[in-house]
């Protein structure tokens, strides 16, 4: 009985909750056969021409439900492999160990890990396994979410939007021949120079759970959410887009802090269920706010790049740019979700 009710709430284009990730992987493999190959059990998305001899391998991973992250970023100039876990659940060490082995071209492998307890622990176990098999492995942890208080005594900040930018920039550097040490340092620099904050208008339904993670009234929003459909730091009354954009942007700006004269990449991200027209409304307010503060937007990205299933909402990520990061942001990239210069 309870099961039946649950099923009817599943307004999703899936076959079964259990098969969703594999069905989507099969679709990706067919749609992007020129760029990637997919292995199952353990599930890994691998750049078609991996391993590239002498190139540092870039491996990322995380729960599914954040598409196009990470599978959509596998390809030339970005990731060498991605490990998709169950929906909103970090993948398992065997996936990452396999990915690491598959992309190790002899120059070592860098793991890009978002700062979640589960991701960190699973990647740690994977690195132990991969090192046991002779790979040189470094890891960089992204933790850019200013909504979460940072402290030595807590799990610290979540990794969110900066992860996408980091994968692009470090992917460009790896393609250009950076060694493992330099790639690791660049990754740490990107993470150190980026900050994000998100908000949601609605929650989302984890297929296996079959119901919304949280209920929210028609006139409310959640501020300071992550990317797992979870409630945020604070629930407040819904506000106009300009005000929401200002709350997110000003909080991000104050945190680093970004200063007058800084050049930034401004990234307005959709959570999955928000239409593009609204993201441009938000981008307008973000850009204008930054301009007013004397911060120069020299690069931008607007779209749904790191999502929480069908959650409606947005996040704002700012990355302070310098010559090195700008160069590798602009470098050619050819993946299912990001492509330019090629």
């Amino acid at each position: 009985m309870a099961e039946a009710t649950v099923t009817t709430r599943l307004k999703k284009l899936i076959n079964t909750p259990e098969s969703e990730v594999k069905d989507a992987l099969a679709g990706m493999a067919l749609a992007h056969a020129d760029l990637i190959r997919v292995e199952y059990d353990p599930n890994v998305i691998i750049r078609k021409d991996a391993p590239k001899k002498g190139k540092v391998g870039l491996v990322s991973g995380g729960g599914s439900g954040h598409e196009p992250m990470h599978g959509g970023y596998v390809g030339r100039g970005m990731l060498d492999a991605a490990c998709p876990g169950a929906v909103f659940t970090s993948p398992t060490p065997d996936q990452m160990a396999r990915a690491t082995k598959a992309v190790d071209g002899g120059a070592g492998v860098l793991h890009v890990v978002k700062n979640y307890t589960g991701d960190i622990m699973n990647f740690e176990m994977a690195a132990e396994l991969a090192r046991g098999e002779g790979s040189q492995v470094n890891a960089v942890i992204t933790n850019d979410d200013v909504a979460v208080q940072d402290s030595l005594y807590t799990a610290g900040r979540r990794g969110v939007g900066v992860t996408v930018l980091l994968e692009k920039i470090v992917g460009g550097a790896a393609e250009a021949g950076y060694d493992l040490q330099k790639a690791t340092e660049l990754a740490k620099k990107v993470n150190a120079n980026g900050r994000s904050m998100g908000m949601a208008l609605t929650s989302c339904i984890v297929p296996a759970a079959g119901k919304v993670t949280f209920e929210i009234a028609d006139d409310e929003m959640e501020l300071g959410i992550g990317i797992h459909g979870e409630p945020g730091r604070e629930r407040t009354k819904l506000k106009p887009a300009d005000e929401i954009a200002e709350i997110l942007t000003s909080t991000v700006v104050k945190d680093l802090p970004f200063k007058r004269g800084d050049e930034v990449l401004a990234f307005v991200n959709g959570m999955g269920g928000t239409p593009l027209i609204e993201l441009y409304v938000v981008y307008n307010a973000v850009h204008q706010y930054l301009t007013k503060e004397g911060i120069k937007v020299s690069r931008s990205l607007v779209g749904s790049y790191i999502t929480s299933l069908e959650m409606a909402g947005t996040s704002v990520t700012l990355l302070k740019l310098d010559a090195e990061t700008t160069k590798f942001w602009d470098a050619p990239v050819h993946t299912p979700a990001l492509r330019w210069g090629v």
Partner: protein, 230 residues
């Protein structure tokens, strides 16, 4: 008295059954302060465990528990996978080659498992995690055995302590795991991992009860716990 591999198999099967039964409840707890997958993850993992332990049920206790842990590491994901996986792998390592396990060795093995959990997750007491259940429970078990109690009685006391530890997570503010992102909003909710760890003790008590308790598919807990608290 000594514990047999068969009794440990019974434990794991009972636990898998309870997890399946409480899947929605655990997931509901996790939805309130986490990402709403704890029951789903644990159930996916223990369904795998049931498959993977089938060929090793006649082997030694160490092999059984290590197989359990490996199956969890390879199928649960999230925080639960490495934590419960490490718990069983370490406990199994402590029982390597033993077909019969002395009572004190069993408790020592579980303590080794807990040590692994703490090394992996670096949680302190009162961080609002499964550690808040396992720590007092194993302390009770160890103390009772020292006082000369049977393993059944020791685990009875341990389960009571586990339950108390689980309930004591409610007023805590989470400092580890996903729930910590909520800050003060995590207060007032029972921790899902603490809850699944309480089941771990309770099913072990049942499996080692003297005389043994009913079938491993017991559904006696359904009533109260199936309602998520939020």
């Amino acid at each position: 008295m000594a514990v047999t591999t068969a009794q440990l198999v019974d434990w794991i099967e009972r636990y898998a059954a309870v997890i399946a039964e409480q899947k929605q409840y655990l997931t509901g707890l996790d939805a309130a302060i986490g990402d709403g997958d704890h029951g789903i993850n644990m159930d996916r993992g223990f369904q795998q465990v049931l498959i993977k332990i089938a060929p090793v049920k006649d082997k030694d206790a160490g092999t059984l528990l290590k197989t359990t842990g490996m199956a969890l590491v390879g199928s649960v994901g999230g925080a639960g996978g490495p934590l419960y996986g490490t718990f069983f792998i370490r406990a199994g390592t402590a029982l390597d080659g033993k077909a019969e396990v002395a009572d004190a060795d069993l408790v020592a093995a579980l303590e080794a498992g807990l040590k692994g959990v703490v090394e992996r997750g670096k949680a302190n007491l009162k961080d609002k995690t499964m550690v808040d259940v396992l720590t007092p429970a194993l302390e009770q078990a160890r103390a009772r055995l020292k006082e000369g109690a049977s393993i059944a009685d020791a685990l009875s006391a341990a389960t009571d302590a586990a339950e108390a530890g689980m309930k004591a997570t409610i007023p805590l503010k989470a400092l580890k795991g996903r729930a910590s992102y909520l800050g003060d909003r995590s207060i007032g909710h029972q921790d899902p991992g603490a809850t699944s760890s309480y089941y771990l003790l309770r099913t072990l008590r049942e499996a080692l009860a003297d005389p043994p308790q009913g079938a491993s598919t017991s559904t006696s807990y359904v009533g109260r716990e199936q309602q998520p608290t939020s």
